[in-house]
Symmetry: C2
C-alpha cells in the first residue's frame, strides 16, 4: 500500500489452532488512550501482554542496544568473561540467595550463594592478567525485601580496566580523580547504545559529559544523583543573599515565627538552605492545598521525613520587594524551568527553607528530597516543566566513608562503612589525611568524613545508570582501611565480602530510560513482581508432594527439614 504497509488478499485459509475460550484480555484492544488491564492480570498472562506493540518494542530494542554495547566494547579490545553464578555463601547472607546442595545425611547442610555481583571473581580475573579490559553482561541476584522496581535478578554491564591513570587533583578539568580511561569508554558505550535506539531521543551532548563533585551536587541539588532536567536549585542562605543574611532570614520567617515568639538565628554548625518553587499560576499551590487525589498536598510534600522544612509565602509587598532584591541572583536558578533567562516573581512562588548539617554525607538532603517531590508534583500538572532533553552527568569526589547509608547500617553496627566499596582508592589529595587518621587511635568524625574517594557515578535524568571506582592496589593500605577505619573483624576481613555496593539494575534501568518507561518490568521479558514473585510461572512455590515422594524426602538430601 502507499503507506508502506502490506495488504494480503486471502484466497484460502486453514485454522491451525483455535482459542477455546475468550482470552483474559486482548493486546489488540490496548489502545494508548485507554487504561491497560490490571498489572496483576497482565503479569499472570505475560505472553498475552507481550503481544502489545509497546512492550514487544521494548524487548526488541533491548536486544539491539545490548548488541550495540557489546560491539563497542569488543571494538575497544574488551574481553567478555563469564563468572560463576553459583558462588560462596557469606555470613551476611540475609541479603543473598542461598542454594542448598545435596550431601551425605547427618553432615552439616552446605550452600552455594547466587552472585550479588561479579566483584570477587572479576578482581581475581584482573589479577591473573588474562585481560586488562574485561566486561560482562552479568546476571546478579539480591534477596531484598520487595521494593518497587527492584528485581531479585537483574542484569548489569560490569567492566574493569587495568593500568588506568591515577587521580590528578591539579588538573584543569572537573574530573580530578583517576580512571579517565574508564570515563571515556563508558561515555563511548553510552553513546553507542543511545545511537542504537529507534526512538527519537534528543542526542546526547557532543562534548564529554559534564562532571560535578559530590560537594557541588549536594549543595545545589541536595542529591548525589540530581535530575538536571529542571531547575529548582538550592542555595545556602548566606551565599544566596546579597546583604545581611540574618535580615533576609527575618524577612522570610516573619510573621510565622514571630507569632510563636521564636526567632530563627543563623546557625554556625548548620546551614540554612533556600529553594524557590515554580513561578506558576496561583492554582498550583491551590491544588496542593485542595489535596486532590491526583496531586499530593503541600502538607504531604513537607511532612514526609521533613523535620527541618518550612514552607513560606511572603505576604506583604514590602517584604516581597526586599526579599526579591536580596535573593535576586538566586531566583533565576531556583525556578523550576532549567536554563530560563527570567527570574520568577517571588510573590507567585513558594519559598522553602530548611537546615542541613555542614558536612554532608549520604545520598540526599531533606531539601533535595523536597526538590524531587516538588518537580514531580509540578510535572503532574504541566509536563513541560521537565526539559525534554536528556541530562547526563558524572558525579565524583564522593566521601570515601559514610555513616549515613541506612541500608548498610544494619550490618555496620555503628561503624564507618565504605560509600562505594572497601576497595575504592582515596583521592590523591586526601591520602595524607587518610594516613593521619590511620595513625590516630581515635580519629575525629570530621577527619574521616573529609577523605574523598576515587569513585564516580554516571547519572541520567536523576537515575544512577553506572558507577565505579579506581581500586586500592596496595595490600597494606587496603588492610589498614579495613581494620582501622571500617573496624572489620578478622572474619569479615578474611571474607572480603561485605557491605558490597554494586550498581543495582544498571542495564535494566538504562533500558527503561531508553524506552521511556517508568518501570524496569517493561524492559524485561519475564519479570518478577514487586514482592519478587512470578505470577506466570507461579514461582516461588512449595515443593509439591507427588505420590512417590514426600516433602520430607525431597528436603532430606539437603540435610534440611521444615522448621518445627
Amino acid at each position: 500500500m502507499t503507506t508502506g504497509h502490506i495488504e494480503v488478499l486471502v484466497n484460502d485459509w486453514q485454522l491451525l489452532n483455535s482459542a477455546d475460550s475468550p482470552l483474559p484480555f486482548y493486546a489488540s484492544q490496548c489502545y494508548s488512550d485507554t487504561p491497560l488491564p490490571k498489572e496483576a492480570l497482565r503479569a499472570r498472562y505475560r505472553y498475552l501482554d507481550l503481544r502489545r506493540e509497546a512492550l514487544g518494542d521494548n524487548i526488541r530494542r533491548r536486544s539491539r542496544i545490548a548488541h550495540a554495547a557489546r560491539c563497542f566494547l569488543h571494538d575497544a579490545d574488551f574481553c567478555e568473561v563469564e563468572t560463576p553464578i553459583l558462588l560462596r555463601s557469606t555470613p551476611e547472607g540475609a541479603r543473598e540467595f542461598l542454594v542448598p546442595t545435596r550431601g551425605a545425611p547427618h553432615t552439616l547442610p552446605t550452600f552455594y550463594a547466587l552472585q550479588q555481583s561479579p566483584q570477587q571473581p572479576k578482581q581475581l580475573l584482573m589479577a591473573s592478567g588474562v585481560t586488562d579490559r574485561y566486561f560482562q553482561f552479568a546476571k546478579c541476584f539480591r534477596d531484598e525485601d520487595g521494593r518497587k522496581d527492584r528485581q531479585p535478578e537483574f542484569t548489569q554491564i560490569d567492566l574493569e580496566m587495568s593500568f588506568v591513570s591515577g587521580s590528578n587533583q591539579a588538573a584543569d578539568t572537573a574530573w580530578r580523580i583517576g580512571g579517565t580511561e574508564v570515563r571515556d569508554v563508558t561515555e563511548g558505550m553510552v553513546r553507542a547504545m543511545w545511537h542504537a535506539t529507534d526512538l527519537k531521543h534528543t542526542p546526547l551532548p557532543k562534548d564529554s559529559f559534564p562532571t560535578y563533585s559530590y560537594a557541588e551536587v549536594m549543595q545545589k541539588y541536595g542529591s548525589d544523583k540530581p535530575d538536571l532536567r529542571y531547575g529548582l536549585q538550592i542555595a545556602d542562605l548566606c551565599t544566596a543573599v546579597q546583604g545581611d543574611p540574618q535580615f533576609a532570614l527575618d524577612l522570610l520567617v516573619c510573621p510565622q515565627y514571630k507569632q510563636d515568639n521564636r526567632e530563627l538565628k543563623l546557625s554556625k554548625r548548620q546551614i540554612d538552605q533556600l529553594l524557590v518553587g515554580k513561578d506558576g499560576q496561583p492554582s498550583t499551590i491551590e491544588h496542593f492545598k485542595a489535596d486532590r487525589k491526583d496531586s499530593p498536598s503541600l502538607a504531604s510534600l513537607l511532612t514526609r521525613k521533613s523535620s527541618h522544612l518550612r514552607h513560606i509565602q511572603p505576604d506583604c509587598r514590602e517584604r516581597i520587594d526586599a526579599l526579591s532584591s536580596a535573593l535576586h541572583s538566586h531566583l533565576q536558578s531556583a525556578s523550576i524551568y532549567s536554563g530560563t533567562e527570567e527570574s520568577p516573581a517571588l510573590d507567585r512562588c513558594d519559598v522553602f527553607l530548611a537546615r542541613r548539617v555542614r558536612d554532608m554525607n549520604g545520598g540526599s538532603t531533606e531539601m533535595g528530597d523536597l526538590r524531587t517531590r516538588l518537580a514531580a508534583a509540578f510535572a503532574q500538572q504541566d509536563s513541560s516543566v521537565i526539559n525534554a532533553n536528556p541530562q547526563i552527568l558524572w558525579v565524583t569526589e564522593f566521601p570515601l566513608f559514610t555513616q549515613a547509608d541506612e541500608e548498610k547500617q544494619e550490618a555496620a553496627h555503628g561503624r564507618w562503612t565504605s560509600s562505594h566499596h572497601p576497595f575504592t582508592a582515596p583521592a590523591l589529595e586526601d591520602v595524607g589525611r587518610l594516613q593521619e587518621a590511620l595513625k590516630m587511635s581515635k580519629p575525629s568524625k570530621q577527619l574521616i568524613a573529609s577523605i574523598r574517594g576515587q569513585h564516580y557515578d554516571l547519572v541520567l535524568n536523576g537515575n544512577e545508570i553506572a558507577g565505579g571506582s579506581v581500586r586500592v592496589h596496595d595490600a597494606a593500605l587496603q588492610e589498614a582501611i579495613m581494620r582501622k577505619i571500617l573496624e572489620l573483624s578478622d572474619d569479615e576481613t578474611n571474607r572480603f565480602q561485605h557491605l558490597l555496593h554494586a550498581l543495582r539494575c544498571g542495564f535494566d534501568r538504562f533500558m527503561a530510560i531508553m524506552c521511556d518507561t517508568a518501570s524496569i518490568r517493561d524492559v524485561i521479558a519475564f519479570p518478577k513482581n514487586a514482592s519478587g514473585a512470578d505470577p506466570l510461572f507461579a514461582s516461588p512455590a512449595v515443593i509439591e508432594e507427588s505420590s512417590a515422594v514426600t516433602d520430607r524426602e525431597q528436603l532430606a538430601p539437603y540435610r534440611l527439614q521444615r522448621q518445627i
Copy 2:
C-alpha cells in the same frame, strides 16, 4: 625487535606490590613439555593458573567466538532475549537446584528453582510473537551427581525460529525432516564461530554439512554422535559378506567356539555385526595384551559392558584367505584410517564380532562403544590414526520415543520417554503410524519405536555440539502424545516440565573443541570441579555462625532447619 616483540629498556622502576612468600606454582614455569601442577592445586589458585598462556588464550578466544556468534545472529535478524534464571520448582526436583525464599514463620517453605534450560519461557516468548527469531546465551543449571566434565552451571546458545518449513520426506536431500531454516542458520553460525578462532583449524566443508539418518549412523558407527575422523565402520555380517554368511560366521568363530562344542547360528531377531581394527604393527595387540599402564588391555576393552562382544584373530592361512575374500568390500571401510584406498591385511588385524537387536534405540550399541574405545587406544600409540580435519555432520530422523535412555528411566518408571523432548513433532511420513498407535489401547513396542521425530543433532568430532527439533503445534496431538504414549499423570501433564532433554554444556563443549582441549574446565574462567565444588571460592560451604547470628537463625527466614 625483528621478531615483532618489543624489548623495554628500564631506566627506573618501583615495586608496587611484592609477593610475601613463594607462589604455590609459577605459570611462567609451566612449559608444554613438563607435566602441569596437580589439578586440585591449580583449581585452588585458579588466578595463578589463568596466567598460563594456553589457558588465558582459551578465555580470550571464548570472548571472540561468542561475539562472532552474536554478530552472525543479529545480522540474521535474531533478537536476544534474557529469560529468568529464578524459575519454578517442579516435582522432579532432584535434578534441579532449589532456592529457598524468605517468608512468614510457620508457613510452608517456598522455593524457586534455577532454570535447567530456557525451554518454557522461550516457548511462551515465541507464542507471544515478540520475535520470530529468538536467541540467548543462556546460563543453565543442573544439580547432577558429579560426572567428569559436567558443570553444575553451563552456557548454551539457545535459539528458536517460528514459521519454519515442514518435513519433506520426498525430498532428494538427506535432510528429510522440517526446519531447514534452522539448519542453515546453525551452519552459518558455526562457520562464523569457526572463522573467529585464531587457531589454524582446517576449514569446515564448504558445502552444507552432511546429513545422516539415525538408522544409518547407528548401523555404520553404532553411535548417534559418531566420530568420523577415523574409519572402523561396522557392518552387518549378512550385508558385508559376499557369499554365505553362515559360512563366514563359521570361519570367524572357529576354532574358538568349536572347542566349546558351541555353534553360532545367524539370528533372525538379532543382527551379527563385524568390525575390523587397525591394520597395525603386530605390536598394537601386544600392547593390549601386556596390559601396560598407559594402554588399556584388550580384555578391559571387551569386558566393559560388552556382553555380546567377541575378539577374533583368524590363525590359519586358509581361513584368512577365505575370509579376506568374503569380507573384501567391508575391509576397506573397516580400517581405522578414514578415506584410505587400501584394504588392511586381515591377518594383521583384529576382528570383532557382536550381536545387536534389530530395532535400534538409545545412543549407542556395544559395537559402537568398542569402536570409540579402540580408536582411543590406537590413537594413544599413534595419533595419526585420527584425521586432523574436523568432521561435522547432522544426524536426523531419530526415533520419537525411547525406552533405552538410562538417565530418563529413573523418572519414567518403565514408560516410554521422548528421545528429545515431548514437544518434538513426528516425521510427516510417520504421522499415520502415530495416529494408529494413539487409537490402539495397547500399541506394540515395534510400532511406537518405528515413529521418527523431527529432531536433529549437530555432531563435531564425536561430540554433540547442537541439537533441536521442530515442535508440535497442535494442542490435541500434543496432549494425546503426553497422555497416551508417554502416559503422564495429570500433574505431570499440567506442568509440561519433565524428562526435559536439552543440550548440556553446548557452548562450553564447542569452545573446548575450538581450543583443542579435552576439558570444558579449560574454557571457563572459574569452573567447578568434577564434584561441583569450587576450590577457589570454597563453595558450597556451611553457613558459618558469626558472633551475632546462629545457623538456626539464618535458616529460620526460609522456614527450614537442620535435619534432626
